[in-house]
Symmetry: C2
Subunit: 322 residues, 2 copies
């Protein structure tokens, strides 16, 4: 059984830890099979340049697979469900860069959760799967934030109203919306970027600015008002702190604006930067301009991704072995 989970852009400017969107590509793939050995075994990890742990208690795909297995054992088995296996053997293929701000750990977590659930006849709901993926996010970043995992799992643009209880809303995606993402060849450790935020204290004016933009951003999605959406991509809480971790960020953001982006901010904890645009050609121009700005300002090469918001989220793929 094989599942694909896409990259995602979280925070979207004002919405630290509460909103994210799914990209079409890149993404991670997890393949699982039943095993008579108890627990989770990671048979292979590829596409990570040898960086990720193969220890199933340290690799997020292993952690989440184990969490889903445990949850399956606690859950009353539906008639359609298959027997929960003693163990799982797992293959992880990273199709996206690590520590990029594109929800890399969430994509691995979500793909693992969906693959294991599928293997057992889908007894768990998407919300239950999301709760399990948060175990992976906790391992990856020290904090179980859901604003990458939720869009990677569900697709579209997803709001996390509350973490306790977990309360997740799928928001409308305006038809004309395009996303340009540029990933410079440097990395930001999510756990370190989060620690920088955790120790800070914020003034009420910063909160007010983000609350106003957060409300306007959600309003813009319902109105399909792309101009309003663009000017709501403004972050007075986190961007000023994290921008310093991304060489050339100011120049890249200026280049995106110059090239006609509706709005631009840091993707997740960076170093990737995203911009929104109102058509494909504009989105491509914006991504080219951002890549060029990384090159000229700080001599960093970068990959770019241009696409619509991915409406499907994680998908089950035909088994390669079949």
């Amino acid at each position: 059984m094989r599942a694909f989970a896409p990259a995602s852009v979280s925070n979207l400017g004002p919405g630290f830890d509460v909103i994210g969107l799914a990209l079409d590509h890149p993404g991670d793939t997890v393949e699982v099979e039943r095993s008579d050995d108890p627990g989770v075994e990671i048979a292979r990890v590829s596409g990570d340049g040898g960086v990720l742990s193969r220890d199933p208690t340290l690799n997020v795909a292993g952690v989440v697979a184990a969490s889903v297995l445990a949850r399956l054992r606690e859950t009353a088995v539906a008639p359609s469900a298959r027997r929960v296996p003693r163990g799982i053997r797992l293959w992880l293929h990273k199709g996206m860069p690590l520590a990029s701000g594109l929800g890399s750990s969430a994509a691995s977590s979500v793909a693992a959760a969906v693959a294991v659930n599928e293997l057992c006849g889908q007894p768990l709901s998407r919300l239950e799967l999301l709760a399990s993926t948060l175990e992976g996010e906790r391992v990856a970043s020290g904090s179980p934030h859901a604003d990458n995992a939720a869009p990677s799992l569900l697709g579209g643009i997803v709001l996390i109203r509350s973490y306790d209880p977990l309360d997740v809303l799928e928001l409308p995606v305006p038809a004309g919306l395009w996303v340009a993402v540029v990933h410079p060849h440097c990395s930001v450790k999510t756990a370190e970027a989060r620690a920088l935020i955790a120790e800070r204290r914020f003034r009420i004016e910063q909160c007010v600015a983000n609350l106003g933009n957060m409300g306007a951003l959600v309003s813009a999605l319902y109105r399909a008002d792309l101009k309003l959406l663009g000017r709501s991509i403004e972050d007075r809480l986190v961007e000023p702190i994290r921008a310093r971790l991304i060489p050339g960020f100011a120049e890249v953001k200026a280049a995106a604006r110059e090239a006609g982006a509706l709005g631009c901010s840091i993707s997740g904890s960076g170093p990737s930067v995203f911009a929104l645009a109102d058509d494909e050609a504009r989105a491509t121009e914006v991504s080219d301009a951002m890549r060029e700005a990384f090159r000229t300002a700080v001599a960093l090469e970068a990959d770019t991704y241009v696409g619509r918001v991915n409406p499907a989220g994680a998908t089950v793929e035909p088994d390669a072995a079949a």
Copy 2:
């Protein structure tokens, strides 16, 4: 020329300084006439128990009338506009309690702005009037917040995306929504309540909680999902600090929940408390329960207001002298 401007409930839980709604009643009335004496003269203030200043530079109605006059002089005169008078004579009738958390200063400011603009043939737009009313809010509270003045002026539920530039969005009002407000007979000085917030610094977890609820609250208005709206009325930033200024708040909030309120929080800087309900009978039960809780918990009498959200905002009334 006479204008009425209604009371308003600001913050609505998570949205400190960025969202408010207009009530049907109570409200303030301002009457103005042309005067050959330059500047603004306050001829009479009634309904305030003699508390408010008659000095036009200290009374918000006078401040705002002067601001509108100045703005009218700077504005190119439309063909429909009448001559801008040398001066204004002004009567203010307070139809609502002071320092109540119901936007009392905003109502006076808005009524004054609308009356003066009407007297001159309405040359100023509503957004220009709103900018003038903020001069009144600055005098009243030390801070030009717009989340009372905007709904009092425009009606409905209004979001302030940004203060600089001023960017205001009118949000949809779900058909079944009722508001219950209870005003205990004590007062909270807005300027003091604001100072308490201004000196605080907030943790990112508090910001995240309010951002999630803010996004969900706006989403609930578009979906007309009253249950979601109710559970989004949650404030981890300001309510915990301001609740201490309102004797019996915890008991009153519990009573509202018990009586079936969708959600409940402090109205503006208090001491009024608002609750939302999904029909009139429930809203009345909730307001009765809140009033009773103020009485039994802390021996405070209270007024109650129950109504729908006021769609009209400020209105021009037939001249009493006509």
